[in-house]
Amino acid sequence: MLNKIYDWVDERLDITPIWRDIADHEVPEHVNPAHHFSAFVYCFGGLTFFITVIQILSGMFLTMYYVPDIENAWESVYYLQNEVAFGEIVRGMHHWGASLVIVMMFLHTLRVFFTGSYKKPRELNWMVGVLIFAVMLGLGFTGYLLPWDMKALFATKVGIEIAASVPVIGGMIKTLLAGDETIIGAQTLTRFFAIHVFFLPAALFGLLAAHFIMIRRQGISGPL
């Protein structure tokens, strides 16, 4: 049945080369854990992406109940976690996944560093990777505020004060992030929400695309 549908579409649109381009690629022996178990270190990039997909999916579902408003944010998080079926699981996926994605990304960075994979010709991909790292930290920072509990509020106060300590333009960065010169409140929450669910994910998608296109172009770096 599925085969027939596939053949029907393929006959008209010739889709086989498209997914072959994406799916068929060489996995050299030195990165295959079946050959050398220590090659599992090459999995961290893929694991980072896998968890990122979980973050995107669980985040999409969380916004069905969440409201970025100081009166209702905490209440809506409480409701979705305690009153909605599997709310604890879905929020848990997003909560723990957020930490795990940073861990995996860090391990991936270490592997690339210690295998020297950042060297010519892959310098550009390393730079894009550093940008992805920054975007991920930004996602973690902006997402932390959204439950609007005491921990979120004070963590954001501290984070914004750190940003404010930048010489010369620190004050402006603070106002830009918080939406007000002194208050961390209604405007901070809506800004952080917009940054968390629209701006940073958009940046992330672009950077990930560049990251993947480049690695496919250049191939996985050779053995040590």
Binding site: I54, L57, S58, F61, M64, Y65, N72, E75, S76, Y78, Y79, L80, E83, V84, A85, F86, G87, I89, V90, M93
Partner: protein
């Protein structure tokens, strides 16, 4: 069996598809159940709400009775005021929902001077008889809903809306 050997490739592809599908399902099932929760949640409802209308004051002419109750909308609680058209039919008290069965506007008793003794919906000129029966050739396709009613120390109490029992 010997004629139908499973090749290594087939075995691997079945196993990987199975395990992958199981993992994907484990990931997606909680999220889908989370999303469809409003459809599956049991609505409680049906508590009677005390109105300020004295039973003794109700006549055979429908009057509008407002009643206010606390509505729990997920994380948001608020006081909501609804209305009913209340009149006496013999000894029985009838309370009709003012929600038009066409598209949900609010109907008025004798809202159209040309049609006495009828409910009238201003949106698309839908009309109903006194007992809530929709007048043929006007937009509504069914009779007005009815509220459960009861008496509490001389005052009217209104319960949940039920399909019209008079028509």
């Amino acid at each position: 069996m010997s004629n139908n050997k499973v090749s290594r490739r087939q075995f691997l592809s079945y196993t990987l598809t199975g395990v992958g599908g199981f993992m994907a399902a484990g990931m997606l099932m909680p999220m889908v159940r989370f999303a469809i929760d409003p459809v599956l949640q049991k609505s409680e409802g049906g508590d009677f709400v005390l109105t300020e209308k004295k039973i003794a004051d109700i006549t055979e002419v429908p009057v509008r009775v407002d009643f206010t109750f606390e509505q729990v909308d997920a994380w948001y609680k608020s006081d909501v005021t609804n209305a009913a058209w209340v009149y006496k039919e013999g000894d029985e008290i009838i309370a009709l929902s003012p929600v038009c069965k066409h598209l949900g506007c609010t109907v008025n008793w004798e809202g159209d001077p040309a049609h006495k003794n009828q409910f009238f919906c201003p949106c698309h000129a839908g009309r109903y008889e006194k007992n809530g029966a929709n007048v043929p050739k006007t937009p509504p396709l069914g009779p007005l809903d009815q509220f459960e009613v009861r008496e509490n120390e001389g005052f009217l109490e209104i319960g949940k809306a039920i399909p019209n029992t008079l028509v």
